[in-house]
Point group: C2
Chain length 364, copies 2
Amino acid sequence: MRMLDVQNIQDLAMGAAVLGTGGGGDPYIGMLMAVQAVREYGPIQLCTLDEIADDSLVVSSAMMGAPTVIVEKLPKGDEAIQAFNALQSYFGLRIDYTMPIEAGGLNSTTPLTVAARLHIPVVDCDGMGRAFPEIPMVTHTLYGISATPFAIADERGNSAILNTIDNHWTETFARTLTVDMGSTAHIACYAAGGKRLKEAAVPGSLSYAEQIGRTIRETQAAHADVVEAVREVTHGFLIFRGKVADVQRRTVAGFARGEAVLAGSDAHANRQMRIQFQNEHLVAQLDDQIVVSVPDLIAILDAEKGEPITTEGLRYGYRVVVLGIPCHAKWRTPEGLKLVGPRYFGYDIDYVPVEQRYAAMQHN
Amino acid sequence: MRMLDVQNIQDLAMGAAVLGTGGGGDPYIGMLMAVQAVREYGPIQLCTLDEIADDSLVVSSAMMGAPTVIVEKLPKGDEAIQAFNALQSYFGLRIDYTMPIEAGGLNSTTPLTVAARLHIPVVDCDGMGRAFPEIPMVTHTLYGISATPFAIADERGNSAILNTIDNHWTETFARTLTVDMGSTAHIACYAAGGKRLKEAAVPGSLSYAEQIGRTIRETQAAHADVVEAVREVTHGFLIFRGKVADVQRRTVAGFARGEAVLAGSDAHANRQMRIQFQNEHLVAQLDDQIVVSVPDLIAILDAEKGEPITTEGLRYGYRVVVLGIPCHAKWRTPEGLKLVGPRYFGYDIDYVPVEQRYAAMQHN
């Protein structure tokens, strides 16, 4: 157990934007909210998975919706508590811990706000080791943990508790409710006992995000190569260097969907990269060759500062570097790939780990 | 208190189709389900509003969705129980009585199935004295009774509990969930204590529906004028006689919307009636003159048998009679008309009671 201070949270939010792979909402907003909560309610306890009791009750807190809308409709801070408390009342039990559903983007810090306000610790883990756009896309699903009872709340005071036969029905119902609620909502879900969570979760993801963020900050201070430092700490691969040529974005059915087109420079001069996204980056294609696909991570960094850029932040002319980062091993199983592999997202391709694709790239 | 037998339920379902004003779902299906439940679980207790204790807990049971879909997707019978039990668990209290949200159509008998299976009595009242298409359109709303906590369930085993800041938000969320669930769902809602219900509900509506149905049956048996008998028992007005010339129907956002065009005969020869509906008949227009509007009832009866015809049952060439029937006095207040008057449904006209419109017709 350790306490998270303001610096830790700032690092965590910065690193989470790398793991957010373009989506997961603007972590800057989540960071501001968490820092505000710490200033108001005191520091936040972070426990490792090993430290929590087998019979403790852990519930994930998150925001749901299109990141494009979230940046224009800032949460008041009460909504997350309302969803969490709705679930607590439903159980009639005290929830012992909260945790992030995803370690990428805004939702890495959403549970910190809940933890500070309710004076409960956060567990250092998540259900993805990155960000994904849909509710069932968590390692919990692979271990048979239900998303429901699932609480969803808006900023007006409306809420709902869903109970569904599987996590895909939760996604269907929660997505339409989110659209009705104005395309953003707060959720509390994936209640699990400590024992099952130790098997099912991705351990250490908040510390990992914090480590990435700290690396960026310290490397910037040392005026060293930030992109290279991020590549090293994430065990990633530098797959493209260039500038933003075009970004197409639509908000469809509660998602931000679109494509970024990058024009190559340096070693990639005269080459083009296309990155398609549904909230998060899904597939990166170099000319006609796929070089990274889900569930591996595709991170776009500012070429100079080494800081991650979300799809909403991409602007014409930005000089960027693209990293391919291996996903957590739980996603590389047949069950994992069925849930979050390229075919689930409608791409008629097999998943090939980024390290293999990268090696093949070097031979071309 | 009295017991409802199979004959009572058949009469009730027939009368409820008159009060259903074209919508409310096919009462034949509800009747079959209720009769089946009585045969399986024994007769159903019907209590008057006066007979229930002030501190008893009463919850409405109903189906929600487009009647056009309900007739093609028969309920299994468990869904209504699932919604009801979801609400009972939520309260952690035993629900003492159930009641219909509307006395028109299928939903007049939906609570009978719940009552038979759970061995609880039904209260002889409803929230409309007829059928209406949307959740907030009940006299409960006029008395500040919340639709929530609102349980909704489908036939797969999915359910949700909504808690909203007003009954219009309940309608929004429940309607999109109903569409997700396949355009029909079962609901349990408008929980109220006996004391408040005595003020807020329309009393005696199930007995009234039964009386209308019995009148139809007995008048048919006596080979007398059924249409005239229905007109008399409902204190209605015969506003049109003719045959169905055209019916336009679309299922939009979980509703059956459209228009029936009738060509006049006898006293109405060479005249045309247009009846617009959103599940229920909303406005009846004779040539260019409005002759009945919500909240008054517009019932289409078979010209010979005197039996009510729903909008799904209307076919080209059917010989029909249209009755205009005064609504319950609670709807004729400014608050009532704001909730269910013609302007709510998008018609730029003032409400004029059917008896006044009918008197004006006689002078033309």
